[in-house]
């Protein structure tokens, strides 16, 4: 599953369009967009979408959330969404948005360019965070300072010296990282920023023009973003597959044997470990289990005879 977070709707708009996402109308605190299929599935009374407790368990392939501007909004929403969808080891988080170039002399070369952030400085705490750079991409890398206020042209003149080692300024990245790391690792978080300005002049008042400028800047980089999200999707899929060692039939057999052999908790853990190793080593442990059923050893009458079953499986898969 891919979690995408943007601060503003104009940043999200081109992505919503290209991924064909629809707004979740049952979410009112912040705007959340998911694939249409998922909305239909959730609207229907589909039993497969619920777990034993009646909670809906199917997760969308992608969720895009508009957090609102600034580190507090970003951290609160990231935390809420990752909790809601129960973020796990196979998920990927993409924080996407716009940023300002910190150094006037680099403004022209960076203008409307997409960057992958490799170092995030929280301006308030002076702490640095480093997402892993594990996705092969041609997107250039940059470092960013995350502040709490909109960068003015005046502030740029100060930061030009005070943050000379940093390239960009944004208002969410470091906060997204700090909230996200409660749920996922640094190898599961990416930060993409399009450079739209080099500090806002104090007299900007035409919000509509500004919003259009942001959307246009994102639109120009949408192919690269799409390509990056596709890579995240493949990583997420690969990771999920890597963890699922046992197929459905094998899982059912494990459950059946545990039940029929009256295994204690410790014996269950041992049996699962034997089965994992057997499967990974290409040993046909299922055939042995079948023999145990045919010869009447399984099902057992109690835990003590269950121990014999455990010994047989251990002997088959190891020594």
């Amino acid at each position: 599953m891919i979690f995408i977070f943007t601060a503003l709707y104009p940043e999200a708009k081109p992505l919503i369009k290209i991924f064909g996402l629809k707004k979740r109308t049952d979410r009112t605190r912040f705007q959340q967009f998911v694939p249409e299929d998922y909305i239909k599935l959730m609207a229907g009374d589909n039993d497969g979408a619920r777990d034993e407790s009646g909670e809906k368990r199917i997760r969308p392939e992608i969720v895009l959330t508009v957090t609102g501007v600034g580190p507090v909004n970003a951290a609160a929403v990231v935390s809420s969404v990752l909790t809601e969808y129960d973020a796990s080891h196979s998920d990927q988080l993409l924080s996407f948005g716009t940023a300002a170039a910190l150094h006037k002399q680099q403004w022209e070369e960076k203008r409307e360019t997409l960057f992958l952030l490799n170092k995030l400085l929280d301006q308030n705490t002076d702490r640095c965070f480093y997402p892993d750079m594990l996705v092969r991409t041609s997107i250039p890398e940059a470092s960013a300072v995350t502040g709490s206020v909109v960068l003015t042209e005046r502030a740029v003149r100060f930061l030009d010296m005070a943050a000379e080692d940093y390239d960009l300024y944004d208002m969410e990245a470091a906060a997204v990282y700090q909230a996200g790391v409660f749920y996922v690792g640094p190898h599961q978080m990416s930060f993409l920023r399009v450079v739209t300005d080099s500090g806002i002049s104090a007299n900007v008042s035409d919000v509509r023009t500004l919003a259009q400028h942001v959307s246009d800047s994102v639109e120009r980089n949408v192919e690269q973003i799409l390509d990056y999200v596709e890579k995240l999707r493949l990583i997420s899929f690969g990771e999920k597959k890597r963890v699922d060692i046992l197929g459905d039939l094998e899982k059912k057999t494990v459950e059946k044997v545990i039940r029929d052999a009256h295994f204690s908790k410790v014996m269950q853990d041992q049996f699962i470990q034997y089965v994992k190793y057997g499967t990974l080593s290409g040993i046909n442990w299922m055939a042995e289990v079948e023999k145990l059923y045919e010869s009447g050893v399984l099902p057992t009458v109690d835990k003590r005879t269950g121990k014999k079953v455990l010994d047989v499986v251990r002997n088959v898969i190891s020594e």
């Binding site: 480093y130 750079m133 034997y274 190891s318 020594e319």
Partner: protein, 312 residues
């Protein structure tokens, strides 16, 4: 940085800011390792760990001038010990030398310099093995061990070791184990070639059958390996050998099982005794005895070091 002209350089305050982050994934990072250049602080030389062989040396120490390895052995304890799969090279080798000299002022020292890494794998980049050979040559009470799984080592580029106190310890494993579990390491053929070259150039060589890894039909696999080794290498010119089967602390294996759900060698149902995972006593005895018996045909018994219960 001439070695990596396309590398993106990220300035960091302290290597631990990157290396010790929360919730890292060793396996994922190892697939695309970042190189961290750092200065090591605090204690630089440590007493040898209990699960490691001291090879008969009383004052047994190890040091880490690097953390993590270019090679990718699935069963390697580094995957459970370190929070990160990225590689750290400590640039203040001279500080480590000073600390070793302090120990040498008290007693002789046997020092393993390539435990938490494989220095020879990255020698063309660092030149650290050459530095250690020169340092050892200049300090008569120092013996060092350089452990490796590299093949095709360019021994010609290393300084001569007139003292014989630099021991090149080659871990050798059957083809099956190399192919399935020791990714990116030298092949068995490559390692045999390196051993032959080291012996012919007069370097002191140790063979390490440690860790022995269980695999289906292990006796045939290890048997084929021994046949090749003993037919291609003059075993009488091998300084000593060590034998031990796979063992690992509970804490490390738990972490490795979490990170590597798809690794057979990690998911093997080991036996846990007092916090150390190992093969069953029966299998351990069978594997190690078999190896010691084979070795006795070629190497005097007093030069065979087996990791015994009392070492634990």
């Amino acid at each position: 940085m001439g070695h990596f002209p396309k590398a993106e350089i990220i300035k960091i305050d302290h290597y631990k800011d990157v290396f010790n982050r929360h919730r890292q994934n060793y396996v994922k990072q190892h697939e695309s390792q970042a190189l961290i250049l750092a200065v090591k602080q605090g204690t630089l030389v440590y007493p040898g760990a209990e699960v490691c062989q001291n090879m008969g040396h009383k004052h047994f120490y190890y040091t880490s001038c690097m953390m993590n390895c270019l090679f990718d052995c699935e069963y390697c304890y580094l995957k459970g010990m370190y929070p990160s799969g990225n590689m750290v090279i400590f640039l203040n080798l001279q500080d480590i030398f000073k600390e070793v000299e302090m120990l040498l002022s008290k007693h002789p020292v046997y020092l393993c310099v390539s435990y938490d890494t494989d220095l020879l794998a990255i020698e063309s980049l660092t030149g650290y093995v050459s530095e250690w050979i020169r340092f050892t040559e200049a300090h008569p009470d120092l013996t060092i061990e350089v452990r490796t799984k590299a093949g095709n080592i360019d021994f010609e580029r290393l300084p001569e070791d007139g003292s014989g106190r630099t021991i090149f310890a080659f871990t050798v494993s059957p083809d099956y184990v190399v192919e399935h579990y020791e990714h990116r390491t030298g092949s068995l053929d490559g390692r045999i070639e390196s051993i032959k070259r080291a012996v012919s150039m007069g370097f002191t060589v140790r063979l390490c059958f440690d860790p022995m890894i269980y695999c289906p039909d292990w006796k045939t696999e290890y048997g084929k390996m021994m046949d090749r080794l003993t037919s291609e290498i003059f075993m009488d010119r091998i300084n000593d050998v060590s034998v031990g089967s796979f063992r690992l602390s509970e804490e490390y294996l738990k972490s490795m099982r979490r990170n590597m759900p798809d690794s057979a060698v990690v998911q093997y149902p080991y036996q846990n005794d007092h916090g150390v995972y190992h093969y069953s006593d029966k299998l351990t005895e069978e594997m190690e005895n078999w190896m010691v018996c084979r070795l006795k045909e070629f190497v005097p018994e007093e030069r065979i070091f087996r990791w015994e219960e009392q070492d634990r």
